[in-house]
């Protein structure tokens, strides 16, 4: 603490010897090698601690005649710039700081909030915004965002469920995206030599930073969201199905229906759909409570799925009873 105050108060660079002569706790006999070495170790440890906290420690010499490096802290680099938040803005920041379920990010958010409070911001801990997002992140979030910020390449093992073995990937990460509640990293895949996105939950093991920082430049017109979202547009529901369901049954299919007509043999639903296989699987899930009547592509798909279902589970019954 005294070291910070001392270095903040000086404009001149102070050498280790000058600091030792001034700041309590560093008293030692410079002519005693062991004592001097102990001081140097302590001083190095304290400097590391300041850097760990993000205190901008400057190194330089007081004059061109000095050989010894000196230290100081520039006030304008040190201090949080003035920040004035209206009460509703401060409430938003307070709520934002509570979102993280991830311990590391939660700690970072609350220490950030403590700094804002120290800057005079009053945060109402009771405030709510009506809807709270519950935010979880994958373990690789931290290393990937750090690497993207430092523009440093990474390597990791990536596993797509359809493929048996994880593959080693090398990526220049441009950024991380949360798309509909799932996390992705977007960047330049060094092996495919093309832009790729990877789902964070599919990364196996640690993400390793490789090479030096500032090693690449993301495209100038980068739109991270677009890279993740380009494949998932709205589904066109051009098909119109007629499905008969038993009275009082198949509530899940009824919810999909745009029209329901009651007939002696059951309720006749009209359902718009995009992918016939998707709807067929849902209809098959209702067993004898639902029957696909038209169009033929849907009816045939349901029959085919039911046949396969019956034969797979005939075998499965045989396995169970064996």
């Amino acid at each position: 603490m005294n070291l910070v105050i001392c270095l903040l108060s000086t404009r001149r660079f102070l050498t280790a010897a000058q600091i030792a002569a001034t700041v309590p706790g560093y008293e030692h006999d410079p002519s005693d090698p062991r004592d001097h070495e102990a001081f140097q170790r302590k001083f190095e440890r304290d400097k590391a601690e300041l850097r760990e906290l993000g205190v901008p420690l400057e190194t330089g010499t007081a004059s061109i005649f000095d050989q010894e490096p000196g230290y100081r802290i520039a006030q304008r680099e040190y201090a949080l710039p003035d920040i004035l938040l209206e009460p509703d803005e401060a409430a938003a920041v307070g709520i934002a700081a509570r979102l993280w379920q991830h311990a590391g990010l939660a700690a970072a958010a609350s220490s950030g909030l403590a700094k804002l409070r120290a800057a005079g911001v009053e945060v109402d801990p009771q405030a709510t915004l009506g809807v709270e997002p519950v935010v979880t992140v994958d373990p690789s979030f931290g290393p990937l965002t750090t690497a993207a910020r430092d523009r440093r390449a990474v390597s990791f093992k990536y596993r797509v469920p359809e493929v048996d073995e994880p593959s080693a990937r090398r990526l220049e990460p441009w950024g991380v995206v949360c798309w509909r509640g799932r996390w992705y990293v977007v960047g330049h895949d060094k092996d495919r030599n093309a832009a790729r996105c990877f789902r964070l939950s599919r990364i196996v093991g640690d993400v390793r930073a490789v090479g030096r920082p500032e090693a690449f430049t993301p495209p100038a017109d980068l739109d991270l969201i677009k890279h993740v979202a380009r494949s998932s547009g709205p589904i066109a529901r051009n098909g119109r199905a007629t499905v008969t369901v038993r009275q009082g049954r198949a509530a899940g299919l009824r919810r999909l229906a745009s029209a329901v007509v009651t007939a002696p043999e059951g309720d006749i639903l009209t359902i718009s759909y995009g992918d016939p296989e998707w709807l067929a699987a849902r209809i098959a899930g209702y067993g004898p409570d639902a029957r696909a009547d038209s169009p033929p592509e849907l009816r045939d798909a349901v029959i085919q799925q039911l046949k396969e279902l019956a034969s797979r589970h005939d075998r499965s019954v045989a396995e169970v009873t064996r």
Binding site: Q101, G130, E132, C178, G285
Partner: protein, 329 residues
């Protein structure tokens, strides 16, 4: 972000923050400051003790940090140059900026304007660190969420028409809203359900209709919100276990649904999951299509097999649905 600070660095960070915090609030009560800074009162008092011996070189009166401390309240009278907090570090900037972007993206949220103003100010205070390489886009089922939210804001009880997937039924119920939240892909209303006499999570996309009642929302005192840290559906050991054989094209279900166990055999995976209800499991698992074969429990396998044969029967005789043996209809 995952590396924790050393205890001494942690304490130094706290002390550097404490001085400007107190400076901005002359005469603040120790208890209030401790609550605000998320430390114990005892910890705060120990930190204050340490501040007495910190100050400018010279370390005499007029150099040391000075404060009026009467046991309950504290006022800083000399700050020794520590009049401003340390700027945000990269992790703090990232955590706050990304969380604010999340809030701004959350459908149905109130005071979006305030969130965006706050985001701009935090980004400006974070300087170079503001360009957090993180973008956020949450699900966009805006209209319904906004409508439900306005109803919740009225402070009244609601009558819901709600689809319960576990029982495949749509029911009417009166609920006392508690809060709304989004978890991953879905938005939820958490409310006291008067029918179940318990706190329930209602998925917004399954609320088929609602009306605002002419009486205030009054969840009972004992109605506690769920802990969401492990997700919405946390199957307990009392729920039945279902085992599946999953072929390559269906392995994705292990990413989307909570599973208990996966045995990766060449070609097919053996997946174990807990389900709330076997009837639901039948609809759900068959609905996943041809990549999934159920292998247990035996009653579920038999149920699926029998249902598939019965369903096929109605295509052979296309004129009527077979009578349901359970109801005779």
């Amino acid at each position: 972000m995952s590396t924790l600070r050393t205890p001494s660095a942690d304490r130094l960070g706290r002390l550097l923050n404490l001085v400007p915090y107190l400076l901005a609030r002359p005469g603040i009560r120790v208890a209030e400051a401790a609550a605000d800074l998320a430390v114990t009162e005892r910890q705060l008092r120990e930190d204050l003790e340490l501040l007495w011996v910190c100050g400018l070189p010279g370390y005499g009166p007029g150099d040391l940090i000075d404060m009026a401390f009467d046991g309950d309240t504290v006022t800083i009278s000399h700050d020794a140059g520590i009049d401003k907090p340390l700027r945000l570090n990269p992790d703090e900037a990232l955590a706050l900026v990304v969380a604010l972007r999340m809030l701004a993206e959350t459908p149905g949220i109130g005071s979006r304007d305030a969130i965006e103003r706050a985001l701009a100010k935090i980004e400006s205070a974070a300087g170079d660190l503001a360009g957090a390489p993180v973008a956020v886009k949450l699900p966009a089922n805006q209209e319904r969420l906004t409508a439900v939210r306005a109803a919740v804001d009225s402070g009244n009880a609601l009558r819901l028409t709600y689809y319960t997937a576990a029982r495949d039924e749509t029911t009417e119920r009166v609920v006392d809203p508690m809060r709304m939240l989004t978890v991953g892909t879905f938005a939820y209303l958490e409310a006291w359900c008067r029918r179940a006499e318990a706190t329930r999570m209602f998925r917004i996309d399954r609320i088929d209709a609602f009306t605002v009642l002419d009486e205030p929302s009054r969840p009972p005192v004992g109605a506690v919100p769920h802990d969401m840290s492990d997700g919405v559906f946390r199957p307990g050991p009392e729920l039945p276990l279902v085992t599946l054989r999953v072929s390559r094209g269906g392995r994705w279900i292990t990413e989307y649904y909570p599973v208990e166990d996966v045995v990766e055999e060449p070609g097919e995976w053996l997946v174990t999951m807990r389900v709330t209800d076997l009837g639901w499991a039948q609809r759900f698992l068959v609905g996943l299509g041809r990549d999934v074969t159920v292998t247990g429990p035996p009653e579920l396998v038999e149920q699926i097999r029998a249902a598939a044969h019965a369903a096929l029967g109605q295509y052979a005789a296309p004129h009527a649905l077979e009578a349901d043996p359970a109801t005779g209809r």
